[in-house]
Symmetry: C2
Subunit: 340 residues, 2 copies
């Protein structure tokens, strides 16, 4: 029966022990410490340390209105891209003295709504959103209440908020330029169904336009990656078809790249001879012989600029931060087309 005294010391107790008023103790722990006499400061410091006092952030934000919290909605926490961006967001928050409250939604719009409501009850001061569905109605309410809001990676048409993420048009251009330069002329674009996810839509559109503009052959396969057989059949058909140009696969994201490699291995295709290139750099891309060519997203930078955006909105400043970030091309063996 360990009936522990579940009691956190309060400001009043510190005040008593330090022979001061709670106002003074409060001043000590906010930014007004310098207004106190050295003697008073010493007494409070001693008392607080002795009692192990920690200000109650809940009470603090109740009166002051500042929760010190930034909320973040992540569509899929198990996606390394999301985690990397989140890492950047967290670092930037810390530098601004804010804490991050992350909610994963597992790509479920219902959970998304739910978690959004939750974040509202904690009175977060800003929101970074990587949405799965389109909770436009809910978000618009936030906007109208004046709460800063940044859309990450995925745009939402009906919400009047800033967007931060990859410059998808530039990415696809870069990819097509590279593939063409390497001698690939017949392309298969692999993506999960575009659904509501704006980057998928943008990338797909850019691919189709870019292929046409360059006079390349371009095909598209947009099916759930879990349907492994369909994917394999599509790739098999693509490779088997007659044609005189070298063939390459362009994968819309890391998951697609993973699935493509699996399929190509099953089909016995040789990477390089069949070109392969993907958006998103993952740590295993250099391990698959002969290395997978990728477009790396500047994840840290994206995360940080999301917070920068938020801070700008909070302080009403007009400093603009970079919103659409350029990818970095990492060339490896999977796009080295062997000379005929």
């Amino acid at each position: 029966m360990t009936l522990t005294a579940q009691h956190r010391t309060t400001i009043l107790e510190v005040a008593r022990e330090a022979r001061a008023s709670k106002t003074s103790v409060s001043r000590y722990f906010s930014e007004e410490r310098k207004r106190l006499s050295p003697d008073m400061q010493a007494r409070i410091a001693a008392a607080a340390c002795h009692l192990g006092y920690r200000p109650n952030q809940m009470a603090r934000s109740l009166k002051g209105g500042h929760s010190g919290l930034i909320g973040m909605l992540v569509a899929d926490i198990r996606n390394p891209f999301s985690v990397a961006v989140m890492h950047g967001v967290e670092q930037a928050c810390r530098e601004h003295g804010l804490s991050l409250m992350v909610c994963n939604t597992d790509n479920d719009p219902a959970q998304e709504r739910e978690r959004l409501a939750l974040l509202a009850t904690y009175r977060v001061e800003g929101l970074v959103i990587n949405a799965a569905g389109s909770p436009d109605r809910e978000l618009q309410a936030w906007v109208e209440e004046g709460i800063p809001l940044v859309l990450l990676d995925r745009e939402l048409s009906d919400v009047d908020a800033e967007f931060v993420g990859l410059d998808n048009a530039q990415a696809i251009d870069l990819a097509l330029d590279h593939l063409q330069a390497q001698g690939y002329g017949d392309l298969l674009y692999l993506s999960e169904p575009t659904d509501q996810a704006s980057p998928r839509q943008v990338r797909l559109t850019c691919f189709l336009q870019g292929v046409a503009a360059r006079g390349l052959d371009g095909e598209v396969h947009c099916q759930p990656l879990m349907e492994h057989d369909a994917l394999q059949r599509a790739i098999g058909d693509f490779l088997a078809r007659s044609g005189k140009r070298h063939r390459a696969l362009l994968c819309a994201n890391g998951n697609a790249t993973l699935a493509a490699i699996r399929a190509l291995q099953t089909l016995g295709a040789r990477l390089g001879e069949t070109g392969l290139m993907g958006i998103d750099e993952l740590d295993w891309c250099k391990l698959i012989t002969p290395g997978i060519t990728t477009l790396a997203q500047p994840t840290e930078a994206i995360g940080r600029s999301a917070v920068a955006c938020l801070m700008a909105l909070l302080s009403d400043s007009t400093t603009t931060t970079l919103r659409r970030h350029a990818p970095e091309l990492i060339v490896r063996g999977s796009t080295q087309c062997p000379a005929p």
Copy 2:
């Protein structure tokens, strides 16, 4: 000049609009809804909906003492293992009506202390700790204040708290049994320096004992994985040494596996002929030809049982949950020793 009314509606406003008292509205939003008359309920529902009311969790926890928050300290958020466990923790929290506040510490003990203090100010009701350093003093304070605390993956000797994680001894046994059965008799164990990280220590010790018990040859390389040259030299020496038994590498975690594959590729070793096996299943393990044999940790289960543990401590119940989880052996080509 959009001077938005940064004003969240309060319980009092809802009460006024519903012609009720704040007590009744409060009851409506807590678990006492059934005590209200149907008419009253309807009025409150209408008013709340109309005004877009959301209870203020800050005020709520100030009065009630229940923040509804669980804190989690993660040593390295970019480690897929950590993320997978975190996912389990989050799900379990949600099922219990709790929210998760995750703090990443980037393996930095100083940050660890800092984030721990932060979580204290938010009055989290429980703590899941995957520690980098050994903030024993701080944690012991939590324990003494009666705040439930669970150590995840990494144990701390001086803290009187529950541990949840992999059954490391069983994992190493399983690995050695498998390697021996596959005909490998000369083993190199690859790990990052054990430092404070308890699972690394345990795994290493078990390896040494297990090797001795089985009459196998066992060597160890415990250096930072970033020192790629040293690693490669060590592996090279290991492979070049004369001996009549088949050789295999056993990797202590996912990072070690990654580094080992890189080194083996550079050395031109053939997987299988040189055995390779690692703890931690990662999505690319099946992609590297001929597939990497792994011991998968039941990450979801570990995360969930961490929360279960916490809940048990919170409710003072004596139900015990599984603490040390069994790994799952996933056999692939990297441990198929070709017949001589």
